[in-house]
């Protein structure tokens, strides 16, 4: 271990930590929350830039041998997570005036970065917990809401279960292989030992739970609905991205054995179908997004069925497209006062006449999530299914695509409400929310890049 490697390879993490400490100190000194917010935002941007530079420069190093290593792919993953955090932070500013949100977000992002570059289950667990614990508090920040405590508790308890399963799985794998390195998981996938398989299955289930894959999905709708818009945005995009990137790393170079294919394919497939069907009936926008994210998690896990070399690219591109588009949707939501009313899909009715910009961007987001070309969501889906089909799973790919068709209806319903219906509670001219608007612009720039130059983005993520 040398100091320079530690400094350079973990530069994004160091920046986040420094920013976090500064924000804490500023808060103790009683400075205006505005400063903390600007500082946190600057920190995240700097960390994202650092990660992007590391990735583009092809920097690879084993920072702590056996515990944590950095490759261009991990840095690219960090860059995606951190870029997604920028609009989330901006979005939070409209709702939370003090420094708590940025503080918790910075801490959680540190965990995300740690998790993405973990080499051992120890680091992985450390990252996962550092990622998750601040999120429970983030959900609780909106305490004046009715369902908030319930949401946070559910998230906490089920998060604890996931941790438990991960630990149990890791210890079984340790018992089998005598090592805590995460390669054990990949090797255990096609090992003849029952111990190894049980361990691998438990670890996988822990990640299914974290990513809200059927049948471990039930917490997500409640948590999403109960939290605030920025907290939901954080869970739906950043937590999901960090978890999935860790999963790709976990699977590493493992080819799936036929038995594992069933385990990796069936729950995600059911997630796609179940998420999309259930989303149709949701009266709450955030609940609907929760079910949509359950379906999208299914697509993301589907990408693991593809050949090894394409997995990271597919998942990273999908996460970027999905994350950016969900955030565009969150920035466009109406915010007229009462959160319970704003959250109803009904209140999107007639949005085009009240706030045309919000309606158009939300429509674009819905179309992208539905996978309508030429938006990035389509390219992402295409990439996943292309890989799955290339790996010879034609039937699974067709089933997955048909499952994605089921989602079309509820995304279109949002557009239908915004453009083809009148507002049910009388037209109120909501004031433009400055930060949400800026956040949506921040998202739309990379969205435009991904739409016009998908080839370029895919080249960057080749891994």
């Amino acid at each position: 271990m040398n100091v320079q490697t530690v400094l350079v390879s973990m530069l994004p993490e160091h920046l986040l930590l420094a920013g976090l400490c500064l924000v804490l100190v500023l808060d103790i000194l009683g400075r205006a929350p505005r400063t903390s917010f600007a500082l946190a935002l600057g920190t995240v941007v700097a960390a994202a830039a650092a990660a992007a530079v590391l990735s583009a420069g092809g920097y690879a190093a084993a920072t702590f041998v056996g515990q944590l290593s950095v490759s261009p792919a991990t840095s690219a993953g960090k860059a995606i997570v951190l870029v997604l955090a920028v609009p989330v932070l901006m979005l939070s500013r409209d709702e939370f005036r003090d420094a708590q949100f940025p503080m918790l977000a910075l801490a959680s992002l540190y965990g995300a970065c740690l998790m993405i570059s973990a080499d051992s289950f120890l680091t992985l667990l450390l990252g996962l917990e550092t990622l998750s614990l601040p999120v429970y508090a983030l959900v609780l920040l909106a305490m004046q809401r009715k369902d908030c405590a319930e949401a946070a508790l559910k998230y906490l308890v089920l998060g604890g279960t996931a941790t438990g399963m991960l630990l149990m799985g890791a210890s079984l794998l340790f018992g089998w292989s005598g090592t805590l390195a995460i390669d054990a998981f990949a090797r255990a996938l096609d090992a003849p030992s029952a111990l190894a398989r049980a361990g691998a299955a438990l670890v996988l289930c822990a990640f299914f739970l974290k990513a809200a894959i059927f049948p471990f999905h039930a917490w997500a709708p409640d948590a999403y609905q109960g939290g605030s818009v920025p907290a939901t945005a954080y869970m739906a995009t950043i937590v999901k991205a960090a978890v999935l990137l860790a999963v790709v790393r976990l699977f590493g170079a493992a080819e799936l054995s036929p038995a594992m294919i069933a385990l990796v394919a069936v729950p995600p497939l059911v997630s796609i179908v179940w998420g999309n069907i259930t989303a149709m009936r949701q009266p709450s926008f955030r609940r609907m997004i929760a079910y949509s994210s359950i379906a999208h998690a299914g697509f993301l896990f589907f990408a693991l069925l593809g050949a090894v070399e394409g997995r990271f690219q597919a998942i990273a591109f999908y996460l970027a497209a999905y994350g950016l588009m969900s955030l565009v949707a969150f920035t466009a939501l109406p915010h007229d006062g009462d959160d319970a009313v704003d959250d109803r899909i009904d209140s999107l009715k007639g949005l085009f006449h009240r706030r045309p910009y919000a309606a158009v961007t939300l429509a674009i987001a819905m179309l992208s999530l539905a996978g309508i070309p030429p938006l990035p969501g389509f390219v992402a889906k295409f990439l996943v299914f292309r890989n799955v089909m290339a790996a010879g799973h034609t039937e699974l790919a067709v089933l997955g695509l048909v499952g994605s068709y089921l989602g079309l209806y509820f995304y279109l319903r949002v557009i239908q409400y915004m453009f083809m219906a009148a507002h049910p509670y009388g037209a109120t001219q909501a004031a433009l929310r400055r930060h949400a608007f800026a956040a949506s612009l921040v998202c739309l720039v990379p969205v435009a890049l991904l739409t016009v130059f998908p080839g370029w983005a895919l080249g960057l993520l080749r891994g």
Partner: protein, 519 residues
């Protein structure tokens, strides 16, 4: 400016239009309409220029642009004109300004959004036609859903939400299977030849196994058949047509439905020739059912728009017959039928829209003796009706006659070889011509003649100069194709031959001289 650049300008001009409408002022709707019309006119002028420059003797892609887009997958921005699409591109660009002009007084709500959607549809339709790369084609193909969804849903009639969601769900289901087939197709091209490419020209040579071909053909055919639409996948069409605003109906009938037949011609049949040959009789049968069933349904409708909607199903059945015949004359006829139907159906939908704006009813029973009330209107209506029936000297005759002739030539060959199924089918198809005349003339008789009655008859005025202009342009085009079909058909001939070669393979090429000799 090079011609390839002009084709790009033609394609991207609607996007400029969208940007314009976003920046325009909603309180000055006439400015929005005027500028949109001007842009569409420029687009048509440029397309017409390209059409004149199009070299009928060159079998390859003309005015082509090829830029790598997603190099990892072999996706390229590859556009160009060829014999398949040149007439359809011209038709699309021709209808553009007419659609804007035709909605001048009908659309008063969200004028900017409406024109943005018209531009977006125009962009997607032109893109679908000029794309020579499957990925690009699919992109535009799917993109088309979005503006049409909004157009029917926002400016449509009473049951617009139901109609528009039905339209989208039907068409999207076809496309999702096409997407799966497309991924598989490109993947097998890569594994068999080592070439990663989405270009049509490369995909024609994929050399798939027959078993795979049948599945892929089924997926592509389903998607295209929904769009055409072929009975029994047609049920979305009457709803969409009836509920859509005039502009939506005109675009649907004028161009969108041709996407289906174009898809069959450019992709469905030539990409999977073995499967297509196997399915010839089925496709012909469905085509004949569409012709006869569509005509029968049109006969009994009481809603004016529905009559024309069902007549579309019937008329495009001829195009399907012509394509399935894989006979040079039949293919040429199919192309002419597509363009001709684009003109007559668009014209008739415009006319229904015009009478609806005046009398606010689409119920045929409310009308009678319109000839006395609106003489100018009635003259145009009669001309377009006769063109739809296929009266000689109009475009309808060229299309229907050639498509049937080609079908008979193929059917006769099959009959000589001992298989009479096709001959029977062709015979039944001819009854469609009689039925077509029956329902259209009966409709015209009830509508135009008899005792004069119409809702709000006392306020009704005859056509304005704007409306006369729209209809005159359409009628002129109808007669151009009817009287001088030679010139446009020369431009499509080489493509028709190429199609014949791709689909018919050795059989068609060998069979051709025999037919000539028999005559």
């Amino acid at each position: 400016m090079s011609d390839a650049l002009i084709l790009n300008v033609v394609l991207w001009l609607p996007v400029a239009g969208i940007v314009y409408t976003a920046a325009a002022d909603e309180r000055r709707p006439d400015a929005v309409r005027g500028w949109s019309f001007a842009l569409m006119l420029v687009q048509f002028a440029l397309t017409a220029w390209l059409y004149l420059r199009y070299d009928a003797a060159d079998p390859g892609l003309q005015f082509a642009t090829r830029l790598p887009w997603i190099p990892d997958w072999g996706v390229a921005y590859l556009i160009g004109l060829d014999g398949y699409n040149v007439l359809l591109v011209l038709l699309t660009a021709f209808l553009g300004p007419l659609v804007v002009a035709g909605s001048w007084t009908a659309i008063t709500k969200d004028v900017r959004l409406f024109h943005a959607m018209v531009f977006l549809i125009q962009f997607a339709m032109l893109g679908t036609f000029v794309a020579q790369d499957l990925f690009l084609f699919y992109l535009f193909w799917e993109l088309m859903l979005v503006p049409m969804f909004l157009m029917i849903g926002i400016w449509g009639g009473e049951r617009r939400i139901y109609a528009t969601i039905k339209f989208v769900l039907y068409t999207a289901f076809g496309s999702i299977l096409m997407l799966a087939a497309m991924i598989y197709l490109v993947w097998s091209l890569k594994t068999t030849t080592g070439v990663a490419s989405f270009a049509f020209a490369d995909l024609y040579g994929a050399g798939l196994k027959p078993a795979a071909q049948s599945w892929l053909f089924a997926a592509f055919a389903l998607s295209f058949a929904i769009k055409v639409p072929i009975v029994p996948l047609h049920t979305w069409l009457p709803d969409a047509h009836v509920e859509a605003p005039t502009a939506g109906s005109v675009i649907l009938a004028g161009v969108l439905l041709k996407m289906g037949t174009y898809g069959f011609m450019k992709l469905g049949f030539p990409l999977f020739p073995d499967a297509a040959r196997e399915a010839t009789v089925i496709v012909m049968l469905l085509g004949v059912i569409s012709i006869v069933y569509g005509a029968c349904l049109a006969l009994v409708q009481t809603d004016i728009k529905k009559i024309i909607a069902y007549s579309s199903i019937s008329h495009l059945g001829y195009a399907m017959l012509g394509l399935a015949s894989v006979d040079l004359i039949g293919i040429q006829g199919a192309v002419m039928q597509m363009v001709s139907h684009g003109l007559t159906a668009a014209g008739l939908f415009f006319m229904v829209g015009m009478i609806y704006e005046r009398c606010h009813s689409r119920n045929l029973a409310d009308y009678g003796g319109i000839a006395k009330l609106l003489p100018v209107y009635s003259v145009f209506f009669m001309v377009l009706t006769l063109a739809a029936i296929g009266l000689p000297t109009t475009s309808g005759f060229t299309g229907e006659f050639l498509a049937l002739l080609g079908t008979f030539r193929t059917a006769w060959q099959a009959h000589a070889a001992g298989n009479s199924t096709m001959l029977w089918l062709a015979g039944v198809a001819v009854t469609g011509v009689v039925l077509g005349a029956l329902y259209m003339l009966w409709f015209a008789q009830r509508f135009l003649f008899g005792a004069t009655r119409a809702p709000h008859a006392e306020h009704v005025r005859d056509l304005s100069a704007r409306e006369v202009g729209i209809l005159a342009a359409l009628v002129a085009a109808v007669f151009w194709l009817g009287l001088f079909p030679d010139e446009p058909m020369r431009k499509t001939e080489l493509a028709a031959r190429q199609y014949q070669q791709l689909v018919g393979g050795a059989r068609a090429v060998a069979a051709l001289p025999a037919t000539e000799a028999r005559r």
